[in-house]
Symmetry: C2
Subunit: 190 residues, 2 copies
Amino acid sequence: MSILSKGEKTRADIVEVAKELFYEHGYDGTSFSQIVEASGLHRGNIYHYFKTKDEILHAVIDLRLQEFRQVLDQWNMRYTDPRERLRAFVAMIADNKTELVNYGCPIGSLNTELGKDRRDLQKRARELFDLFRDWLAERFAELGHKKDAEPLALHLLGRAQGIAVIAHVYHDPKLLQREIRQVESWIDDR
Amino acid sequence: MSILSKGEKTRADIVEVAKELFYEHGYDGTSFSQIVEASGLHRGNIYHYFKTKDEILHAVIDLRLQEFRQVLDQWNMRYTDPRERLRAFVAMIADNKTELVNYGCPIGSLNTELGKDRRDLQKRARELFDLFRDWLAERFAELGHKKDAEPLALHLLGRAQGIAVIAHVYHDPKLLQREIRQVESWIDDR
DNA sequence: GTCTATACCTGGATAGAC
DNA sequence: GTCTATCCAGGTATAGAC
């Protein structure tokens, strides 16, 4: 356990609460009052840590980047075979099917929302895609796809996004499972 | 040209303007004032035709359904080969790459937004997916895929959505083109 | 069928006591 | 570092004159 001062813990609590709310209701769909209620803190106190709602979003993206980096590191440690590593990526999707079906992909839906009118923020959120793209590209490079590692990574990311969108639209975990199986055999063929 | 009374034309103008705004800024991201400004009408007048903003959205979905039905009918008339018809579907994506890169898929992004917090409205918006799913399934049935026509249709829809999301996130029409080519050869293999 | 004025609420944000 | 009170802009929606 890391040692957090009182203020650091409060700040982390706000970000954690905001992360969940932004995912479940969208960024614009989450009001400051909702963050206030869900955190059990008071308006003024939250503004003590963040000057604007946008700043909270930046902190949420930082947190997600940090969490995903940890996950990727764990996969790298747990598996040595590049195909095993890629399979860990698709397994994550299957493991999160309930949330995906209910709220869509946390990364994709955030980027889709911000991409409409807030390109500045979307650019920031895109880093989440970059993180996975780069990690996946490394895996394809390990498999010998020196030249088209990045196209393959983006293809796989796209497949994952498409599955998440359709599964969300139809609220259907079976559909997600079925499509995931196809992606797995696609990986086996690379 | 169909004959529209003055009131019918005003109503159609509102829906057309709202369709564009909802696509470019999202449903929640579009304010009533924006519709007022873009239409050149006045608040009260718009409320004369629609009691709520939700009602406008319903009308927009109706319009989109109508427009897409026309497009699908045209493809059915223009092509007889099922593969040709499927290729018309993917050609539409390539033809709209500029808008897709700027605002995402009009159907997908709407469903993603509404799916977060407004399931009632999302259910309505889902009809747009159903329209394409059913049409695509018919085409796969024509190709002899009697049993798995619908899974194939949903797979293709998912591929299209994934491509739209990634192309939007990275604002990259080349990426879209590259992925579309893969979907084309996937169709050739069915 | 068109337009003006306005009600009412919730949004994000601030000032300042404790 | 915490909390209360409040501001102001903007949101949707309504009433009613023309």
